[in-house]
């Protein structure tokens, strides 16, 4: 076996050497012999002649030598390759069309596959990553599908759930990192001590966090990522023990993570302990996850997800027995769900990616069908040549392998072009926002993709060869040698095959077109949704009020007041305000509010509402509409007024028949004394928080900032002219007020809304692109097949015209063929589009599976393209000159 490989290797690598050596060796022989003959007294010319004659044909000797050396297969392959290259070069039009088709189809598929591979298929970069799970609390009946896990959950669960070998929590947040004067806002992750144990990857230098480092007094430690270590510490191996400043507090570096460590899609470069006070861990905080703190765990070897789930359920049931909130949580449908970490992380994007892959696979199929048709037509043109060669002794095996070599050569070249296109496609994906998808920045062009391309190209080559080989072999030799230009009955079978292919192509293109139409319509409907405020001319940015200067809400309030006053004085600013969370920020935590006097009906669940703390002229700045009463202003916070504003959804839910003004409500899930209640002083229009397509009317309450302070605030500025021009103003004002603070994430509200639509817009754009290519391919296919039909029946047309047929009759005859194919294809396509629409329901917004207008539009486009493509061949048929056609042999 080894010997065979070695000789194969030698043959493949030393081919040129071998040929040169052989030539030299044979030449040496003939020269030596000639010289010997001359020496024996023969004239040089005669000697040379005799030497050559006695030696025999050098080329045939060479051939025998090659064969004797073994592996004649490769010589045969080379011969066939050369033949295939010659054939392809002889018809550049066909070759270029075929290669372009393949490059487009492979390129599109490889691009989408690269995304699917990186996002859905590859396991997370941790050992036995399939055992990692996440656990989150859900209160579906309160409209809160996901609320993370609380610190209490963590302390109650760790070590007590037998199915888990390790359990930990983490929290993503931003922090101001660096010395005063050169600070930067960084993504950081706060983690419980066993976080790295759970993941199975720990620090490469130093140690993980310890249990005693989880209180505020003892948490002055940090672990760096490899990237941060290289960038800020020059990869200093003595980094352990050095200090960095985070949110104005010193942290001692105790570890550095290995290169390439990345937790899910996190950009964090710093890991800090998740410290807390004992009261944060108390049973009363059990339901205070707020979707900020998340839990992960590692299943023990052999333990299953359902075991873990039932153990969590059992523990929850036990804990609820002496929980005063238990009844309310049960009514809210409370459960803690255990789900696989990877699947959960990519759940939202999965259907979109699979849909796109289905779309490009359809495109590949269309391309393949197109190529098969073009190849079939070519094979028909070569019927006689092949028949002659078969008659001269070309074996069936030879005919088949020749076809396979040709199609595989085409598909492999197309595959290489497709890879190049795919590399560009991956960049296009990034431009379309794929790097903002979960795990989206992992999308890479690598060897794995190249292997997939190679395998796909070979499979495609074989698949294309099948119908051609069938066509070449099933012909009756004598018949095709005798027949004129048409191949008798076999011609009819081949024609049926070609027509079937065209119908399939039309149907698939129609499905793609309809699918793209549905996605486009869905995007249009999503964009038509009003966010509930005037998003134009609003610039927003985030500021972190951290560090020793802002220990309390009052200090934060003082800053917001100064900020709003200063901003209002700037030219171009018409109003400014502050809020703890702007709409479309990507954060959407909900919390409870209790309306005084409202009795929960039997079976009704408590509801989670969006709760905001606002300061300054937030409502004016954002362009909210006032329905009743008044807006909140900065004065409310300053005077500590216990007032609030609710939105229409909230008002409609609790006071469907009366005005909410003057009613009392409490923050949290329990009523208290009236002195702690907030009086409703205004009603504003409802706004979207999570996204335009978020249909849940969840209700919102706006409190004065002082009663709902946050160390992370958003500032909103309404510009009198273009909002972008205020970017610098905003930064300058903040720096003047406090040089240590920075504004980040500065974006206009229009941009935030546009960004929130990226998972709808990008797929729609891609689908439109794919269906455009599909249309083009179908047009090429229709044109090719009809042109061939016309060329094939040239003489028949000539005869009929000579006998009195009018050009219009000929034209309409071919047009009828085109129409028949089109209509059969469309009928199949409509059925396919209906199925596709159903399969797409998960990613559609307010669009039915069977949207008649979209289908009609798709049919119109499809019909127009297909008919235009058939016009030219039909026209050409009608212009055939009978004299020439009949005379033309």
């Amino acid at each position: 076996m080894f010997k065979r490989f070695r000789s194969l290797f030698r043959v493949l690598t030393g081919r040129r050497d071998f040929e040169d050596g052989m030539t030299e060796e044979l030449r040496f022989h003939i020269q030596q012999y000639t010289e010997d003959l001359v020496r024996s007294g023969i004239s040089p010319e005669e000697a040379s002649r005799r030497a050559r004659m006695e030696f025999g044909g050098v080329n045939s000797v060479k051939g025998e030598c090659r064969e004797a050396r073994g592996l004649p297969l490769f010589d045969e392959l080379e011969r066939e390759l050369r033949y295939a290259v010659r054939l392809l070069r002889k018809s550049p039009g066909f070759t270029i069309t075929a290669l372009l088709t393949l490059a487009l189809c492979f390129g599109a598929n490889l691009t989408i596959f690269a995304a699917i591979d990186s996002i859905l298929l590859r396991p997370l970069p941790f050992p036995e990553a399939n055992r990692l799970v996440t656990i989150f609390n859900t209160y579906p009946k309160a409209g809160v599908d996901r609320d993370g896990s609380s610190l209490t959950n963590y302390y109650e669960r760790r070590g007590r759930i037998p199915a888990f070998s390790s359990l930990s929590i983490y929290r993503f947040r931003t922090a101001i990192v660096g010395e005063p004067g050169s600070t930067k806002r960084e993504q950081i992750t706060q983690i419980s001590p066993e976080f790295f144990t759970t993941l199975g990857v720990g620090p490469a230098i130093g140690r993980p966090f310890r249990e005693q480092e989880t209180t505020y007094k003892t948490d002055g430690v940090a672990i760096l990522t490899d990237a941060y270590w290289r960038q800020h510490f020059n990869a200093d191996p003595q980094v352990i023990g050095r200090q960095i400043r985070v949110d104005d507090f010193p942290k001692t570096v105790i570890g550095v993570l290995p290169p390439g460590f990345r937790f899910l899609s996190s950009e964090s470069e710093l890991y800090l302990p998740l410290s807390s006070r004992p009261e944060d861990r108390a049973p009363s905080q059990r339901h205070s996850g707020g979707n900020v703190t998340q839990m992960i765990a590692r299943l023990k070897a052999g333990a299953t997800l359902s075991q873990a789930q039932s153990q969590i359920d059992a523990q929850n049931a036990t804990l609820e027995m002496d929980d005063p909130q238990a009844k309310m949580m049960a009514e809210a449908g409370f459960r803690s769900l255990v789900v696989p970490l990877h699947a959960d992380h990519v759940a939202a994007i999965r259907p979109v990616l699979l849909l796109l892959q289905a779309g490009v696979l359809a495109l590949l199929l269309i391309g393949a069908v197109n190529l098969a048709n073009l190849l079939l037509i070519r094979a028909s043109n070569r019927v006689k040549e092949l028949a002659v060669r078969q008659a001269l002794g070309a074996s069936r095996r030879y005919v088949i392998s020749e076809v396979i070599v040709e199609t595989t050569l085409l598909t492999l070249t197309g595959g290489v072009l497709g890879l190049a296109l795919g590399a560009g496609g991956i960049r296009l994906l990034a431009a379309l926002g794929a790097d903002r998808l979960p795990l989206g920045s992992h999308i890479a062009f690598d060897a794995r993709l190249a292997w997939v391309a190679l395998a796909a190209a070979i499979v495609m080559g074989l698949a294309l060869a099948a119908p051609i080989a069938w066509f070449n072999l099933r012909r009756d030799l004598g018949n095709s040698l005798q027949s004129e230009t048409r191949g008798g009955t076999t011609g009819r079978a081949a024609q049926a095959l070609r027509h079937t292919f065209i119908v399939a192509q039309i149907a698939l293109s129609f499905v793609l077109l309809a699918g793209a139409g549905l996605l486009g319509l869905s995007l249009k409907r999503a964009m038509a949704v009003s966010p509930g405020f005037r998003a134009d001319h609003v610039l927003t940015g985030q500021i972190s009020l951290v560090g020793k200067k802002y220990p309390a809400a009052s200090a934060g309030l003082a800053f917001t007041e100064r900020l709003v006053n200063e901003l209002r004085r700037q030219p171009g600013v018409s109003s400014a305000g502050v809020v703890n969370n702007v709409p479309f920020s990507g954060k959407s935590g909900k919390s409870a509010a209790t309306v005084k006097g409202y009795v929960i009906r039997p079976g009704e669940s408590p509801r989670g509402h969006y709760s905001y703390g606002v300061a300054g002229d937030y409502f004016h700045a954002m362009g909210f509409s006032l329905r009743e009463g008044r807006f909140l202003t900065g004065a409310d916070s300053r005077r500590r007024e216990r007032v609030c504003v609710v939105d229409e959804d909230f008002a409609r839910y609790y006071w469907p028949h009366t005005s909410p003004l003057g009613h009392l409500l409490f923050q949290g899930s329990a009523a208290g004394p009236d002195s702690e209640a907030f009086t409703v002083v205004g009603v504003v229009g409802s706004t979207k928080q999570a996204g335009l397509t978020d249909d849940a009317a969840q209700g919102a309450v706006y409190y004065p900032y002082i009663y709902r302070p946050d160390s992370n605030i958003f500032v909103a500025v309404r510009a009198s002219a273009r909002s972008e021009s205020l970017r610098l103003t905003l930064q300058k004002v903040v720096r003047q007020l406090d040089p240590e603070l920075a504004v980040n994430d500065i974006q206009s509200m229009d941009d935030r809304i546009a960004a929130s639509l990226v998972t709808r817009r990008s797929p729609a754009l891609l689908a439109a692109l794919f269906s455009g290519i599909a249309l083009l391919l179908t047009a090429i296919g229709t044109y090719g097949v009809l042109s061939y039909a016309v060329a094939q029946r040239r003489r028949e047309i000539g005869v009929r015209m000579a006998l009195g047929a009018r050009p219009e009759q000929i034209r309409s005859q071919f047009f009828a063929i085109a129409l028949r194919l089109l209509s059969i294809g469309m009928i199949a396509g409509v059925f396919g589009a209906w199925l596709t629409g159903h399969a797409m329901q998960a990613v559609l917004f307010h669009v039915p599976a069977f949207d008649v207008a979209t289908l009609a539009l798709a049919a119109g486009i499809m019909g127009a393209v297909s008919l235009v493509a058939s016009l030219l061949p039909c026209h050409r048929a009608a212009r055939i000159s009978p004299m020439e056609a009949i005379a033309d042999r």
Binding site: E54, F55, G56, C65, R69
Partner: protein, 113 residues
Amino acid sequence: MGKTADLLPGTLDMLILKAVSLKPLHGYGVLLRIQQISGDALEIPQGSLYPALYRLEHQDLISSEWGQSENNRRAKYYTLTAAGRRRLREETAGWNRLASAIAAALNTTSGEV
């Protein structure tokens, strides 16, 4: 030049092995050596020599190396490998057995039947 005989099928390989067993030779040298050791009795078709050489090399019975010829030209020299030596021994023994058997058969007189 005396009378020449055509080669029996399968004997060319054996003769080549024998020729290169004496000393490394280039292709033309093999031809001359076979003619020499057979006392010019065997006529080798020149064209069939090289395929046989390549076949034997592929079977690892002989190996080749480029070197200088007597008149200082580049030539490919063939030497016998260990496997070739073994094969030559077997073939020689086989041939001798066959030859003596055939000779014995052909020398049989009517009285011995």
